[in-house]
């Protein structure tokens, strides 16, 4: 097996005492340079999977290779190949941002000169130059996350694990972190394994998405393919004042079968996909049928989750055990 194989997981299981299987026989492949979104509610098994793949928690059974190295028998090689920003940014409040980077680089065996060069470069990249010499106890949540990302990158890893990296961040910080993750994957060719419970995050960042629920992967593909799998997009039009509903039905009916819509509106499932929207607009114009509102609805990853599990992802984990609880039972 080559050393640049990204991540390969076969039948990985983690059981905790007095608890259910947090991870229940998952299989997945992440190609080098790919951004893989691991999506699921709280307690689904996302963080437990990351802990196993980063060699912080041994699996109960199954195998996994990260960067071509076995996570159980070749832990040091795995750790040298990966960077990880875990759910809680564990930082030492008595150290500055620069001191954290120096420590992390020293742990990875970088020379003193290289530590300084790499530290300066990463502080600039994550926008913390001005705060570099302040103790991190004064950092905001967003600054801590950015420092955590810089720490994960200090030894230029080939594979990066990000465990819910934007949880608790304001929209601006979230957007900045998304940009940096995209840049890492596109420009530096870093393989990114990203866990998230935010649908939008997975949709924006991930080349492929795996959806995990109750320790099992219930769906895996590109976000587009997953959404297509459960249905084509639909278009909904609300007739303008004075325009009969039948006229709108007649026009839209040419583009697909009618489906339930909001009161007073007309909706059809577009048989030609989202690309058919332009044709709909042209047809309405040609027929002189004016509409007050026209909306394209595409299936979301939440619809995919609903289809695969029978529950909505938003809030699906609220009544389940948190993963911290699972870990505490180890």
């Amino acid at each position: 097996m080559g050393r640049d194989r990204g991540i390969e997981v076969e039948n990985l299981v983690r059981e905790f005492r007095k608890g259910p299987r947090a991870v229940d026989g998952i299989d997945l492949r992440v190609q080098p340079g790919e951004v893989y979104g691991f999506l699921g509610p709280n307690g689904a098994g996302k963080s437990t999977t990351v802990l196993m793949l980063t060699t912080l928690l041994p699996p109960t059974s199954g195998t996994a290779r990260v960067a071509g190295y076995d996570i159980v028998s070749e832990g040091p090689q795995v750790r040298a190949s990966i960077g990880a920003a875990l759910q809680e940014a564990a930082l030492d409040p008595f150290l500055t941002g620069r001191e954290h980077l120096n420590l992390q680089a020293a742990l990875h065996g970088l020379s003193r000169k290289e530590r300084k060069r790499r530290g300066d470069e990463l502080l600039e990249r994550v926008g913390l130059e001005d705060a570099a010499d302040r103790r991190v106890r004064g950092y905001s949540g967003g600054m801590k996350r950015r420092l955590d990302l810089a720490l994960a990158l200090v030894h230029a890893p080939r594979i990066l694990f990000l465990d819910e990296p934007t949880t608790g961040l304001d929209p601006q910080s979230r957007s900045a972190l998304w940009s940096e993750v995209s840049r890492l994957a596109r420009e530096d060719g870093v393989t990114v394994f990203l866990t998230t419970q935010y649908l939008e995050e997975a949709d924006v960042l991930a080349d492929r998405v795996g959806i995990i629920d109750r320790g099992k992967i219930v769906a895996e593909d590109t976000p587009e393919a997953l959404k297509e799998e459960i249905g084509r997009p639909s278009v909904e039009a609300t007739p303008a004042e004075g325009v009969g509903r039948d006229a709108v039905v007649r026009v839209l009916g040419q583009f697909g079968e009618e489906i339930p819509a909001q009161p007073g509106a007309v909706a059809v499932r577009l048989s030609g996909g989202a690309a058919g929207l332009a044709d709909v607009v042209r047809a309405l114009d040609r027929e002189g049928v004016r509409v007050a509102n026209l909306r394209l609805d595409e299936p979301s990853l939440d619809d995919v989750f609903l289809e695969k599990t029978g529950r909505s992802l938003e809030g699906a984990g609220e009544h389940e055990e948190g993963e911290d609880m699972e870990t505490a039972q180890a």
Partner: protein, 254 residues
Amino acid sequence: MGGFFQVAWAVAGRQIYKYFTNPAFLAPALFPLFFFVAFAGGLTRVGDVPGFDYAAGYIAFQYVWALLQAVSMGGAFTGFSIAGDFENGFARRLMLAASNRYGIILGYTIASLVRATMTGALVTVIALVTGIPISGGFDLFGLIGLAVLVNIAATLFGAGVAMLLRTQQAGPLIRTPIFLVLFLAPVFVPLNLLTGWIETVARLNPFTPILTAARGFLAGDPTDVATAFAISAALVVALALWAVYGLRRAEKAG
């Protein structure tokens, strides 16, 4: 092996840096000073008791115990730091970055030695100021050698407990056994003046030969030296295995 030492130096560097840059971490150094001043100052007349035959005098008698207490508690406080690192999640960062995780134990041990050196030096300065005699047969290297081994043993014990429990609740479980071992030895008078159950316990206490040998070094009268070093070395080996066991349990728990 390179990974082992690079991890050790990195971990030690962080601990030492924090020790010297945060006054709060220096506070534990006051405990041995307090014990030394209280015992040596308040109990000096014990040196006049018939049968008290320690040649270097009562202040020196108490200094040796205070020194070993200082280095032992230095190890215990390092254990508290390790427990804190596990509780707040920082240890996970170390475990994630360390190619060789045994280096983490060595790193904390090196830092503990530096800490103990500072505290020990402080106690020694106070002892010199208060009149401890420096006589001809004084074996400084023997005394320091035993103090180093005691510090390492205490650190490894604390590290094992801290990694096993991974919470600051480990504090009492680290501190209490060390205190018991320290105080169930001939602290205030020589072994020959102890009677009853305390004499029995003191004779069985592995710390007693170490304390006796250390006092012998100071008085220029080496006593139980081989036994003391053998016990110290055995404790270091046994407690190193204990610390490794704690690390492995921590690895399994994630």
